[in-house]
Symmetry: C2
Subunit: 338 residues, 2 copies
C-alpha cells in the first residue's frame, strides 16, 4: 500500500507537507502543492481512513439504522436520508436492525460505533431509558417511532393527527362501519405492545378517538406488517359479522395487502368499501385502485434530521429538540365513490 510517506519521498517534501497540501488545513505554497498532487497521481495514493480517524477521532460518516430495507417506507426513507446527508457533505452508511433490540444496540454499540460521527436510528426495540442512556455517548437523532420526552433529539411523524384525518375522511365519505388494520384491539390501546413499536399505537389512538367522537362502530384486525398480513386481515374482517365499509390501514403496505385480500373475496375498492393508508409511499399512486394515504412531510422530516444531527455533532450538549413534521391527506381512487 502506498502511504503518505511514499508520496512525501516522491515529491521531495515531508509527510506533514503532503498532509497539509491535501487537507488544506495549513497553507502550502502553490508550487509545492502542485508537486505533491502530481506525486499523489503518479503513485495513486489514497488516504488511509483508519489511520486518519484513529488520529482525529472522527470519521466523517454518519450511520443510518432502519429496521429493514425490504419495506416500501423504510427503503424510501433511507434513500432520502442518504441524499440529504450527501447534500450536506456527509457520507453515510445504512444498517439494518431487523426491528430487534439487539440490532439496535448493535447500531449503537457494535464495533462500528466509534466508526460513526453520528447516528440516525428508527428505533423500535429499545426502551426510552436505553435510548437516553446511549444517546449520551454518541450524537444521535431518533426517528419518530417512540414517544420520547425531550431527552434526545427526535423527529417524529404526525401519527395521531394523520390517523384522525384519515378516519374523518372515511366518515365524510359516508362510511359507517369502520375498521382498522394493523392494530389488534380498540380498548386499552396503551397496554398493547407491538413489535413495530409505538407508531402503530399512536395511529390507532387517532383512529379510536375519531370513532369515539362520532359514535361510529369499529372493528380491528392485526396479523403483522407485511402485505401478506394485510391479505389475512381482509379475510379476517370479511368473515366476522357485518363487513366494514371503510378501512383505515396503519401503513400503505398493509393497505395494499388489504385491497388485494378484499379482491380475492370479490369485494371491490372503492365500490364496496373505502380504504385509506398511511405513509404515502410511491406505489400508492400507481396501484389499481390508487391508494388514498396520509402523506407525512418526508422532505421536512429528512431535513430536520440532517439539521439536528449536524447540530448535535457540532455541539454535543445542545438542548434536545422534539420536532413533529406536518402532513397532508392525498386523496386518490380508493376513497372516491364511483
Amino acid at each position: 500500500m502506498v502511504t503518505m510517506r511514499d508520496v512525501a519521498a516522491e515529491a521531495g517534501v515531508s509527510p506533514m507537507t503532503v498532509s497539509n497540501a491535501l487537507t488544506g488545513r495549513r497553507p502550502v505554497s502553490e508550487a509545492t502543492r502542485r508537486t505533491v498532487l502530481e506525486a499523489v497521481d503518479r503513485l495513486g495514493y489514497q488516504v488511509n481512513v483508519a489511520a486518519r480517524s484513529l488520529r482525529q477521532g472522527r470519521t466523517g460518516v454518519v450511520g443510518i439504522a432502519v429496521p429493514t430495507l425490504d419495506s416500501h417506507y423504510y427503503s424510501r426513507l433511507a434513500h432520502r436520508l442518504v441524499r440529504a446527508f450527501s447534500q450536506a457533505g456527509l457520507a453515510t452508511v445504512v444498517e439494518e436492525t431487523h426491528a430487534s433490540r439487539e440490532g439496535e444496540l448493535a447500531a449503537f454499540r457494535d464495533s462500528r460505533l466509534n466508526a460513526y460521527d453520528g447516528l440516525v436510528i428508527a428505533a423500535l426495540g429499545l426502551t426510552e431509558r436505553e435510548i437516553n442512556a446511549l444517546s449520551r455517548e454518541v450524537p444521535v437523532v431518533v426517528l419518530g417511532e417512540q414517544e420520547l420526552h425531550q431527552t434526545v433529539d427526535h423527529v417524529s411523524m404526525p401519527n395521531v393527527d394523520g390517523a384522525e384525518a384519515a378516519t374523518r375522511l372515511l366518515l365524510e365519505r359516508g362510511c359507517r362501519r369502520l375498521a382498522i388494520v394493523g392494530f389488534p384491539t380498540l380498548t386499552d390501546l396503551e397496554d398493547v405492545t407491538l413489535p413495530e413499536g409505538a407508531a402503530f399505537v399512536l395511529r390507532a389512538e387517532g383512529f379510536a378517538r375519531v370513532v369515539r367522537e362520532h359514535g361510529a362502530t369499529a372493528s380491528a384486525a392485526y396479523a403483522g406488517v407485511t402485505q401478506a398480513a394485510g391479505v389475512a386481515c381482509a379475510r379476517d374482517l370479511l368473515t366476522r359479522g357485518e363487513a366494514p365499509d371503510g378501512i383505515f390501514c396503519v401503513t400503505d403496505t398493509l393497505a395494499f395487502g388489504v385491497v388485494r385480500g378484499l379482491a380475492d373475496h370479490g369485494v371491490r375498492v372503492p365500490d364496496d368499501v373505502l380504504v385509506v393508508g398511511f405513509d404515502d409511499v410511491e406505489d400508492a399512486e400507481f396501484h389499481i385502485p390508487s391508494l388514498t394515504s396520509v402523506a407525512p412531510d418526508l422532505e421536512g422530516l429528512v431535513g430536520q434530521t440532517v439539521h439536528l444531527l449536524a447540530r448535535r455533532i457540532a455541539s454535543p450538549r445542545a438542548l434536545p429538540q422534539d420536532v413533529t413534521v406536518s402532513y397532508r391527506v392525498v386523496e386518490r381512487e380508493s376513497t372516491t365513490r364511483p
Copy 2:
C-alpha cells in the same frame, strides 16, 4: 474514552493480555480471562475499530453498493445480501451509487474504501476496463449488470434466457402484436447504451430473438426506469398505430406503471392485453391484477455472492468465477386470459 490500557490497569495485567482475552487469538488462562472480562464490564470498554483496523489492515465489514434504495428490486436485493452476510458472520454497510460512474468510483475509491474488506457492487456506470482495474485493488464481486469476461468474480441474472421465456409465454398465450417496455428500439440493440446498463440490453436481446424466431411484430417504448416511466410508455404505445396485445416489461417496476397507464386509458389487463414483468418483486403478488414475472433465483444469487466474496477475501488471486443463476417464470393474473 476508555482504552485497552485502562482495562489492563484495572485488571492488573498487560494490554496484550486484554487483547488476547478478548479476541481469543492466543490462549489465556480461564482465571485471568474472567478478571479481564469483569474489568471490561466495569469500565464499559469498547474496542476502537479505527485502531484495530489500522493495525490489522482489516475491518470485518463488507460494503454493498447499489444504484438506489428507492427501488423495489434493489432495496430487496440489499436486504437479502445483508441478511446473508450476517449469517456468514460479516457485518455490512449499504451505500447508494445513484447509478452514476462517480458514485461507483466512490464506492471503490472513496475514503471508505480501505474501510471495507470487500465490496459487492451492482455497477451500471463503470466500464469493464475500469472494473477490472479496480478489482485488482480490493476484493469485489460484481452483480450482474454488465457482461464481463471472466476477469472478475461476477454473479449475474439470467437476463437473456428469462426474457426469452417471458416473451414465449406471451406468444403461447396467443399474443401477436408484442411490445417491449424499457428499451427504445429493436434494431441494432448492442449500439444502445442506457443509463441503466447492460441488463436492459440483454433482456431486450432475449425479447428480440424470440420475436424474430416467431416472425411476430413488435414495438418498443422507453422513458426511464420508474413507474411513472411505465405510465408514459403505456400511453406512448396506445397512441401509436395498432395497440399491442402483449407487453414485456424489462422490470416489474415498469410493469406496474404500464398496467396503471393502460388502466388510465381504459385498457384492461389481462382482458385486453397481457403483461409480463421481470424480477418478481414482492409486490407482483399483491397488485391487481397480480403480475406474471420472471423470477431469478435470488437466494442463489445472494448465496453465490457471499460465497465468492468470502473466497476472494481469503485468497485474492483465486481464479475469477462467472455465475449465472437460474430462473423460473411465475405466472399470475396479468397473463391469465379471463
